[in-house]
Every structure is written in structure tokens, then in C-alpha cells.
Symmetry: C2
Subunit: 266 residues, 2 copies
């Protein structure tokens, strides 16, 4: 890992300057809280899913260190050398790709237990930015170590393949959404997806706080922030959701589902 002092953009430096503490690397030693997948409360969601005790012991070697990432700061940038995958322990991220002419597209929002960095494997460099939308903590898993342990622990090998396959399938869903849904359908699908993932993490299935701006939602869903806002207002008028800025209450999840899949009339 040598010295992995994070490279900062000007914007990030400004954010950091205002913030109390700098990005800090938490080394894995006796002083810090124990970094072990086997005792992590996310083990049913994250890397160790479906492993037995013995396999778990090996996977504990995966996480080299942890790192905290302040809101607005990037975990990695486009072009940065790829070394590791990151498991999100807490917090919320967005990933986005950027074109030369300045357009950018949010490719996903990630929450606790999800793995980011997979884009970097193919060319040894990251091809997107990962930016924390709230203060976050990630487990750093050096990829060469993942490959090494995968060779010995079949269940881990298969799990890594599954994680990558899951990301591919997720993106198929986003392509479907972007390619053939209208604004209301997109936003309904987005809300249902978010709330479903939050529920899997023990949160309410009807209440959520958006960690991203209307513009970021719009970028992800291929629409403008005004359209996102108008669509929220429409849902609100129709009594399907209650919207108070970023605080969302889902009043009628079935109605949202019907927007996406209009039920057959017969």
C-alpha cells in the first residue's frame, strides 16, 4: 500500500479545510477497534455472506485497514491507480463517470455492506469517482489479497464472482430504467429500490432520508432536477408519498409499484 495519502481536488481541499478532522487512515492494530469481518454487524450483507466459521477466519485477513471519508470527499477518483475494493461500513456514497466535455452521470448510490471499486480492475485504474454523501467509513480490501485468498477459499471466490455479477445485473436494471421508462416510473422505481435496500439494513420500509440532492437523483435517473422535483410534488399530490425536502414518507407503496407495472385490466 506504501503511502496512500489521498489526492485531493481543490473542491475537496476546501471542504476539508472547513471540516474539523482530516481524512484519516485507521491502521489495523491493537489500539483501534477490532477490524474483523467475523465480528462485523454487516457480515450478513457484506463480503462474508454465506461463509462458514473456518472460511470466515480466512476472510478476516482481507481487510487491511479502515478509512473514514468525510462528506463531499472522494474515496477514489477517475484515473487513480486501482489497488483495492472497498466495503462500506457506514455512510453513503455515489459513484459517477465524467466525460471530457464536463457532463457527468451518477452511476449508482451505495450504502453499508455494499462493495465499491469494481470498475478499477479492468485497467488497473479507476474509471469513475466515488464520493461520500455523508460521513462514511470503509474497509479497504487490497485486491491482490482478495485474489490470493479466493484461490484457497472457494466460497469467497464464488462470492466475489457473485458480487461482480450482481453489479452487472443491477446495471441492466438501470439501463432498462433509462432506456424505456418515463419520469414517474423512474422515480417510483428509484424510491422503491432505495427503501427496499434500507429495509434489508433494518430501517423503516416507509420512511427514508435522501442523502443526495435532486440534481444527483436526476443525474442517476437521466432527468433534470426540476423534473425530479415536479415528480415528487405529483406523487405528493396523489397521496403516494409525503415529501419534506429530503425526508420522504411512503404512504402507498403499492401505488408506486403500479406506476412501474400498470396492472392488467382483466
Amino acid at each position: 500500500m506504501s503511502d496512500s495519502a489521498p489526492i485531493l481536488t481543490a473542491a475537496e481541499a476546501a471542504i476539508l479545510a472547513k471540516s474539523q478532522t482530516a481524512v484519516k487512515i485507521v491502521p489495523m492494530n491493537k489500539e483501534s477497534i477490532k477490524v474483523a469481518c467475523s465480528s462485523c454487524n454487516l457480515r450478513e450483507l457484506c463480503m462474508p455472506v454465506g461463509l462458514n466459521t473456518e472460511e470466515l477466519a480466512r476472510v478476516d485477513e482481507l481487510v487491511a485497514t479502515r478509512r473514514t471519508v468525510k462528506r463531499g470527499i472522494s474515496l477514489f477518483h477517475t484515473g487513480e491507480k486501482f489497488t483495492s475494493l472497498y466495503a462500506i461500513r457506514s455512510g453513503f456514497f455515489k459513484t459517477c463517470v465524467t466525460t471530457e466535455d464536463g457532463r457527468d452521470q451518477v452511476t449508482g448510490f451505495q450504502m453499508a455492506g455494499e462493495i465499491i471499486g469494481l470498475d478499477g480492475i479492468v485497467n488497473d485504474h479507476h474509471t469513475c469517482d466515488a464520493i461520500a454523501l455523508e460521513d462514511a467509513e470503509v474497509c479497504i480490501m487490497p485486491f491482490d489479497r482478495i485474489e490470493e485468498i479466493s484461490r484457497e477459499v472457494n466460497a469467497l471466490q464464488h462470492h466475489v464472482h457473485k458480487i461482480m455479477s450482481r453489479e452487472i445485473v443491477r446495471e441492466h436494471g438501470v439501463m432498462l430504467l433509462l432506456g424505456s421508462m418515463r419520469a414517474e416510473e423512474r422515480l417510483a422505481a428509484f424510491l422503491l429500490n432505495l427503501v427496499q435496500r434500507l429495509q434489508a439494513r433494518g430501517f423503516s420500509k416507509s420512511e427514508l432520508i435522501l442523502r443526495m440532492t435532486r440534481e444527483e437523483i436526476g443525474s442517476y435517473l437521466g432527468m433534470k432536477l426540476e423534473t425530479v422535483s415536479r415528480t415528487f410534488s405529483k406523487f405528493s399530490e396523489d397521496g403516494m408519498v409525503e415529501v419534506k425536502q429530503r425526508h420522504i414518507q411512503i404512504r402507498d407503496a403499492d401505488a408506486l409499484r403500479r406506476i412501474i407495472n400498470p396492472q392488467p385490466c382483466h
Copy 2:
């Protein structure tokens, strides 16, 4: 593999009824042409990329059998049990996902040397259809065998990871396209991408024959077939391409590139 008689849809059965020969499984034996990655003319593009002679010998064990797929027939369907990845030896495929209410979205077009089936790993069942757009032949690589050999051949392990990562990155690009480009930009990007991949396979960099309909292009690019057609006509009027049905001649590739990345005025 037990008996892998392909499951046919009614539409496919109709196509097959018209076609001379049924889908046939080519067993790997002395009679059939040798099935060996090491002597395949696609080895610089496909699975064996970057392996040394010894590693190549191991990879030769990967391909169990080959299979021919007639135009219009699917290699696998949504919901079908996942067993193998497929390397395209010849021909052209599309993959598409379908919603309950009948909408479908083409998620990609694949040509010789590319790998399909990655979507099936996560749930042990395929989540999209792969349909041949022209008569094709694929190498069947049972996934458990891929995992087995990956454990012993590090270069193969890493290559598999790269293939999956490449697919993730490709899909990021499609999301960018669908989320923030206009019709002309989408079609220009599509043409440039196709021609670039064809060129890597030794075809002309200015001439190509589309294997898919306007509707399939439209589905992939998130626009209607009429818009695809109109945009082709516009490119043609502007002298950038010559369009004769599915035969496309690229007259000014730079102009196409400028559509996507309008060059700065200074």
C-alpha cells in the same frame, strides 16, 4: 451438463421449423474440428489473452463443447438455469432484459471473442436473453470449471475478473449515453463503438453491416426506431455517413466524434 436440449419459445420453434438444421451440440471429439483456445484465431481477443504457453494449455480444458446458434434463436433465456459462460466464436448476439409488462431493453450487442452469460452467476439463473442476430457459434465454458482452473492459474483468475470489470465499465458508458446524451450523440457513439470493435477484429474501420434492426438499435439507445432512422438520414444528409439499409459507410469519423465531444472553441 446432463442433457442440455435447448428450451424453445414458440417464436423460436417457428424459426427452427423454417431452418434447415436444428441447434446442434458439437461434442469435443476427433471428428469435429479441434476445440482448443491455444489454436483459436480469436486467442488474442478472447479468454486466453495474455496467457503464456503453459497457462494456455490449462485453459484448453475450459471449453467443454461448442454450440451453433441459428439466427433468431436464443442461446439462453431469462430464468434458465445458469451453468456456463459462452465465448462467441463467430456470429453476432444481442442481450436483452424484459419487464413483466412486456417492455424490453437491449442491454448489449456482442461479437466474436466476447463473453456472454455473466449475468447468470449471481442467482444461478440467467436474468436476460441472449439471441443470435446471425448464425453463430459459441464455446461453452462450464462455470464451475472456470472457477476450478482459476484457482490454479492466476492469470486466468485475473482475466476473469477483468472481463467482469470490463462489462461493468461498459455499462457505465451506456448509462452515461442513456442518461445524458441526445439522439444524435447516442447514435454517433454507437456507430463509433461498433466500428472500433470491428476494426479490432480485422474489419474495415469505415464500412460495416448492421446485424440488428432499427428497432433493436433504438431499444439499446433508448429511442424509437423512427428516431434512429431519422438520425441516420440526418447523418447522411450532412455527409458523415452513407446509409443503405443496413449497409453503413463512415465518411467522416471525426465529424461523428465531434458530435459527442463538441471541441472547445478556443
